[in-house]
């Protein structure tokens, strides 16, 4: 859902605390969808809090402080970090529904039916969201490439 690795454990912990608190109220139904809904709400709260946090910390993120991967040169590490920041920014600019559908399908490997069950929507809606998400992704990647070319040309 686009959470940074540094906060993933905190968010997962909060999700499971909510699950533990609300489990007695859960009866027969769509358990994956119920879990997904809790995680979605928790992520929404996290983003709101992150917005306030960035307001006061000037957008600095702990994700930029990560150990270099083994076997990579400093240039490769820097490039990898830039790519991670770029894809994170692109995903952050997407709408929530499209981003979640894209990540669930492209990254997590869920099928269209599974995503439909999780999100509680028809399968066609999933494909529609995925289609628009891909278009957004390609468009923003094109903008990114154009911007990089301009930076290279200027330098």
């Amino acid at each position: 859902m686009g959470a940074p690795d540094s906060d993933m454990e905190d968010i997962a912990q909060d999700v499971f605390l909510v699950v533990r608190r609300k489990l007695p109220r859960f009866h027969e139904g769509n358990l994956p969808g119920w879990l997904y809904r809790i995680a979605e709400y928790r992520m929404r709260n996290y983003r709101r809090l992150a917005w306030f946090k960035n307001l006061f910390s000037r957008g600095q993120s702990l994700d930029t402080i990560e150990p270099a991967a083994v076997g990579l040169t400093p240039a490769m590490t820097l490039e990898q970090k830039e790519d991670q920041q770029a894809i994170s920014r692109i995903l952050a600019r997407m709408s929530e529904k499209r981003r979640e559908t894209l990540i669930l399908f492209e990254v997590e490997g869920y099928s269209g039916q599974e995503i439909a069950a999780l999100q509680g929507v028809p399968v066609k809606t999933v494909w529609t969201r995925l289609h628009h998400a891909r278009k957004d992704l390609v468009s923003m990647v094109a903008d990114l490439r154009r911007q990089r070319r301009q930076e290279v040309g200027n330098s």
């Binding site: 894809i87 692109i90 490997g109 094109a142």
Partner: protein, 265 residues
């Protein structure tokens, strides 16, 4: 079936290829066993901290309740007695020992009961039973002028009051009920009602009824003060002489000497 972008190879569109490359950077979230262990540990720690917090809250509540109960108990038992019935001040031991004087100054104040004796004395002291100037009729004549005696009594009254009023009251309260009631009535009559004649009658009544009473010394002092206030020089001299004979080094010896000297013509 829709293919995933990350599985596509050899894409012609460079933007699509770049998007595919960027998507491959993102790894699927596969929670490891260590991640699950950390998660369980943190959830358990959070639960334990909540239990500790609840325990601390219960402890604080119990502590506050105990403090409140203790404060209420202390306030209920001690404060009313401290406010309503202050303990009498400490009494200095008498300068001259008296054989019949009990060392009861430090005993708690006994309530003065209106006995039959005291009632009789009160009846005798009723305004109708008193002559306009009873002591003047009993006295055999005046030495100095009334004004002079009154001035001396005024100055001596303060001396008596400041020196041993507290101890006198304490001893009166500690005396047997009948004696204490009579002397206390005389003291109140003299101080509050400002009636030295009636106080003198009460003192005479006491000295006649209890010639060896435990409050003879105080009764003599009150009688001297009453006589000086009322301008009865002969009574003042008589009481002063008796006091100095019985208590030459008593607490009120100074008063007795001054009363004796001021009464002389």
């Amino acid at each position: 079936m829709t293919m995933r972008l990350r599985d596509m190879q050899g894409l012609d569109d460079p933007d699509m290829a770049e998007a595919t490359r960027l998507l491959r950077i993102l790894a699927p979230s596969a929670p490891t066993q260590a991640f699950a262990n950390r998660l369980y540990a943190r959830i358990h720690a959070r639960r334990a901290s909540r239990l500790r917090l609840a325990g601390a809250g219960v402890f604080v509540c119990v502590l506050l309740a105990s403090t409140a109960i203790l404060s209420a108990t202390v306030a209920h038992r001690w404060l009313p007695s401290a406010v309503k019935a202050p303990s009498p001040p400490a009494v200095a031991p008498p300068a001259s020992p008296h054989p019949t004087r009990p060392a009861a100054a430090h005993t708690p104040a006994a309530p003065v009961q209106e006995t039959g004796f005291a009632a009789t004395a009160a009846a005798a002291l009723a305004p109708s039973a008193l002559s306009p100037n009873p002591r003047a009729s009993r006295s055999t004549g005046y030495g100095p002028s009334r004004r002079r005696l009154a001035g001396a009594a005024e100055s001596q009254t303060h001396a008596v009051s400041s020196d041993s009023e507290a101890s006198t009251e304490a001893r009166v309260a500690a005396a047997p009920p009948q004696e204490g009631a009579l002397v206390l009535a005389a003291l109140r009559t003299l101080r509050r009602e400002r009636s030295p004649e009636r106080a003198g009658i009460l003192i005479d009544l006491y000295l006649g009824s209890f010639p060896r009473g435990v409050l003879v010394e105080e009764a003599l002092a009150i009688g001297m003060e009453a006589a000086l206030s009322g301008g009865d020089a002969s009574s003042a001299t008589r009481l002063a002489t008796r006091y100095l004979q019985q208590y030459p080094n008593g607490r009120f010896a100074k008063l007795a000497r001054k009363a004796s000297s001021d009464s002389k013509p």
